[in-house]
């Protein structure tokens, strides 16, 4: 499965997870991909999880993202995950959050 979303220039992008990173996560496959979307997509980005075959890259530049019924929106990671992935301390996080 992969994540499709809209880039800032209006083109469809697909985000492919690394298997080694997936192996570090817990939960269902969908929960793992939601976690990656929250981590790697800007917060508030609409996206969908799909296993659609996108191997035919003919007219790749013309691909467009169209919102589907299962569209989700990326959210902020939990505080613990933010601290872990960004190598910051609680104090640094608090200072950055103002």
């Amino acid at each position: 499965m992969k994540i499709i979303y809209n880039t800032t220039d209006g083109t469809l992008a697909q985000l492919v997870p690394a298997l080694k990173f997936l192996a570090t996560l817990e939960g269902t496959d969908e929960e793992k991909l939601i976690h990656i979307a929250n981590k790697d997509l800007p917060t508030g980005t609409p996206y969908e999880i799909t296993d659609e075959d996108l191997s035919d890259r003919t007219f790749r530049n013309a691909w467009e993202y169209v919102a589907g019924a299962d569209e989700k929106t990326s959210e902020d990671l939990s505080l613990d995950d933010q601290l872990k992935y960004n190598h910051i301390t609680q104090e640094e996080y608090d200072a950055d959050a103002g």
Binding site: A13, L15, A18, T24, K39, N86
Partner: protein, 301 residues
């Protein structure tokens, strides 16, 4: 005095002698009170016969019912050759094995403890179990069935090596979420961290790759293998974004990228951020972006 009787043996030849003192001072011979017989000796005093005085310890042995005190530097000696000696010299106390054998301290199953007079443990040797060493009553080292447990730091004050007798030499951190840190001390400096192996398997240093990935950017986009990469975004033809699992400390890192099997490529890295960087595979000859397999390596903080 009711009666004084000195009697010789009628058929013997022995002589009962009372030796005069060599001074003018009177000497008194005190006989035991109650029933009993005055101990007698033969001529050279080597054989003592008669009924023992209950207040004296016979040579054959007996039970002491009070303390035995040895003055400073007076030994209690044991063994025919005086092999084991115990003494106090006024400052220190000694238990010394002076013979040819070992000094062995045995128990019949009880533990062997060395404590100070406050009861603080220094050594606790458990029968058929661990031997524990304490510092100020806090256990610091204990033998186990598999080796040794240490509670605290280990400082090697001399010597250069830690040897492994055979097989792999494993350094294992068994506490979750904790790292292994390697430090060295430069001339005139203090101990400085050089490399850190994180609990999630990353090697953090100035000389090890912080991240790498090999992915196929053609057809079905797929990551072949990676380290510290959570995902790759296919942004457009020949345009990708590598997302780090764990962000870099800053954006001043070195991202090295190589497209595979594409001639006259003009690849570059752009939009370098702490959490990701973007890759562009361009062919200047026809001003076109191309999909291809890509390898990347990242060094930095």
């Amino acid at each position: 005095m009711s009666k004084v009787k000195i009697q010789g043996h009628a058929s013997g030849t022995g002589v009962l002698t009372v030796t005069a003192p060599n001074t003018s001072t009177d000497r008194t011979i005190t006989l035991p009170d109650g029933t009993g017989t005055l101990l007698t000796t033969d001529g050279d005093g080597s054989s003592l016969t008669g009924t023992a005085d209950a207040t004296k310890l016979p040579l054959a042995g007996g039970t002491m019912t009070g303390d035995v005190t040895f003055a400073d530097n007076i030994y209690a000696k044991f063994g025919t050759g005086n092999d084991l000696r115990i003494r106090h010299d006024g400052s220190n106390s000694y238990i010394a094995e002076m013979g040819t054998g070992d000094l062995i301290i045995q128990t019949n199953g009880a533990d062997f403890l060395v404590e100070n007079t406050d009861g603080d443990n220094m050594i606790n040797a458990i029968s058929d179990g661990a031997v524990e060493l304490s510092y100020n009553n806090v256990k610091k080292l204990a033998t186990t069935s598999t080796g040794v447990d240490v509670n605290g730091d280990i400082t090697q004050t001399s010597g250069d090596y830690i040897y492994e007798g055979g097989g792999n030499f494993d350094i294992k951190h068994t506490i979750a979420s904790q790292n292994i840190v390697f430090s060295t001390t430069p001339s005139g400096g203090s101990a400085t961290e050089r490399m850190r192996i994180t609990s999630d398997g990353r090697g953090l240093s100035q000389f090890t790759a912080k991240s790498w990935v090999s992915f196929n950017g053609t057809g079905t986009i797929a990551i072949n293998d990676s380290h510290n990469v959570s995902s790759v975004s296919d942004l457009n033809t020949g345009q990708y974004q590598v997302n780090f699992s764990n962000s870099m400390a800053n954006a001043n890192y070195s991202a090295i990228m190589q497209p595979v099997s594409i001639a006259r490529a003009n690849p570059w890295v752009d939009s370098v951020a702490t959490g990701y960087f973007k890759i562009y595979i361009h062919q200047s000859t026809n001003d076109t972006y191309y999909d291809c397999k890509v390898n990347t390596v990242v060094f930095g903080d």
